[in-house]
Symmetry: none
Subunit: 212 residues, 4 copies
Amino acid sequence: MTAQTKPLITRRAAKIVRRRQLIDAAIESIAKRGLGDTTLAHVSTAAGLSQGIVNLHFASKENLLNETLNQLRAEYEQNWRAALEKSASDPASQLAALLRSDYQKTVADNKKLAVWFAFWGEAKSRPTYKKISQERVTDYREILKELLARLIEEGKYSPMDIAELAQGIIAMADGLWLNILISANGFKRSDAEKVMMQYLRQIFPKHKQAFL
Amino acid sequence: MTAQTKPLITRRAAKIVRRRQLIDAAIESIAKRGLGDTTLAHVSTAAGLSQGIVNLHFASKENLLNETLNQLRAEYEQNWRAALEKSASDPASQLAALLRSDYQKTVADNKKLAVWFAFWGEAKSRPTYKKISQERVTDYREILKELLARLIEEGKYSPMDIAELAQGIIAMADGLWLNILISANGFKRSDAEKVMMQYLRQIFPKHKQAFL
Amino acid sequence: MTAQTKPLITRRAAKIVRRRQLIDAAIESIAKRGLGDTTLAHVSTAAGLSQGIVNLHFASKENLLNETLNQLRAEYEQNWRAALEKSASDPASQLAALLRSDYQKTVADNKKLAVWFAFWGEAKSRPTYKKISQERVTDYREILKELLARLIEEGKYSPMDIAELAQGIIAMADGLWLNILISANGFKRSDAEKVMMQYLRQIFPKHKQAFL
Amino acid sequence: MTAQTKPLITRRAAKIVRRRQLIDAAIESIAKRGLGDTTLAHVSTAAGLSQGIVNLHFASKENLLNETLNQLRAEYEQNWRAALEKSASDPASQLAALLRSDYQKTVADNKKLAVWFAFWGEAKSRPTYKKISQERVTDYREILKELLARLIEEGKYSPMDIAELAQGIIAMADGLWLNILISANGFKRSDAEKVMMQYLRQIFPKHKQAFL
DNA sequence: AATGAATGAGCTTTCATTCAT
DNA sequence: TATGAATGAAAGCTCATTCAT
């Protein structure tokens, strides 16, 4: 009887935990089998739960998948924001921190990359996937542009089209993810980071040090 | 009028023609609906043919999909090789031609990009997709490295890690494809080309002209 | 009246009950249409259940069919063992009981005979069918041989090759099943029994009484 | 021009040959795969001919199968009639010849037995198969009864129900076929013959010699 | 909140049959 | 007479979803 006040919170918490558990199982399965071959049975089994559980917590498979992508997006954003906070505040350090964060295990391990690409592969025909995929880089791009502007000013580099530059950097970042996912010869996260840093050194030679 | 005895489109088309027709229908459907929602019924209907036709010509759906990816790969290669042949032989022109070819309509229209990403999305769990995806860039990468070497020598640029450079360029090229596919603000093939050219101008300032 | 809270037939029947229900439906359909024309739709409809039900409980059609044959084999064995137990223990009575049991309604009604022959018809190309068909008579044959030996001893008949004798009796038993199944002129179970009893009287004239 | 009178005959002959060729291929396939898994593609391929060939010569698969069974029936009859003609004319010899003929290679090799049982397996649901299967033994049974009558008279055996006796003999003959088809321990045609001869010796001890 | 038996639409595949050549 | 590409109905099977418990 004394325990009766608490359960509401506990239950709500339990609910969130369960959802997260199912999302994790979904990521696991998508990475292993692809989006097309992932069934709700795979997900619930991997979560050690029963058949109907996904529909109970997410109402539909579509919804689970949307939430999964959303989860990935949130993690991604959290990760680069944390990286910025931890790093020194000068633009070069911040830029390095931002771009290095893309290759941290938390966001770019083989499983998660596979899932990102799985969703991108369906993005054209699924507005929700497309939208979340776009959202993933909106803030990132703005921050990136800001940092580039500050760096160019600080380093007195000749003027550049910052928007284009940011596009290029993000493109390279994504392309390196693809390379990690698909390469035959074991291209790793650390390799991707090296390539990216080399690129930054080439564009911002005066700040080489920050990009070693 | 003399051709009137034989219909222009013979009902029994040559096998190769039929196969091509079905591959085209597959591309169409994958672009429209994604890989996961593409059914053989979609493909055969789009081709204006009957239910069993895909299994007749490709034995299985899996095989059709493999051949579709293969077709895309072949087209891609053909396209950049043709671009190289048409362009001037100096390394800068060749480099520009090679990288511009990635954004030609033949290989990078919205449909084909969607299909590429659809396959990449399943590449982790499908060895065949992975393999063909790797093959897509093997020759391309070699040629690219060769051109970079010649250009660096010609321009007497300070030494660079050519392999890494090539990785970065290809990554950017692929990432720009993603941007075309997913961007909200109408990022087009021509925009991608601009970004890439800007990048080349930054790395090879003495050859700016070739990358305008 | 007290049972009214729970319906007599619970929607979710115990697994074993469902399986049995489906096997019965399969027997029904095989008898009516043959093995080749029996579809899962026939079986599930006959069982008053839905399309997917067979795959849910048996994983595949092949498995359902194997289990069906197995069921038939088990019933057959149960039947003759029960017959032996019920009969007097002298060899002649036992022999009569054993061979009469082959023509009891439980195991040799028109439906089940049709099913046996349906499986035998495919036995050559289906190892599982062949194996189960062999197993059907292994114990039966041993018991039969034992009884023949005891009877010959008891009656002091001139020595016979018991194995061959048993082969012949079993062959006749099976052939009589075929006759029931195929005969134009309404050859019935009781007719088959008569033929078999006549045969036994001929071989074991001193025990005529037991085979009337 | 001189050859123009002949072709009609040649063609007709060719037609029969072709039909026979297809029937043989059907037997081959049914023995190998069973009735249910035999497709027209199997048959035409085994005959080294093209897809549509069966429909051309038999109008339908059903028809081919009926004709195949018919062919088997005809061969079977031919075989025992030939055996009777070759044998001595006394009833015992005739009887021995008749029953031995059931285990000659021509009619009772593994392939043909498999086909017989394949058809019997569907006989219940296919009137045509049932009919032809009945026809197979109608004349045979009459002859058998006649021979039994003559033998009983000749041997002055105590009176028997000849119809029942014939039923039993035919049943045993068929059951021995089943044993050849299904037995695990290599029960052969010669073994079947032995069992049958033993039986005859038991019933007609005075004619033992004829049944050795 | 959780289970898991049941459903049924929809999928890929097979195959007898047709028919232009 | 023969071919073999094409058809389309029908099969076995999968799986998201429902719902009694």
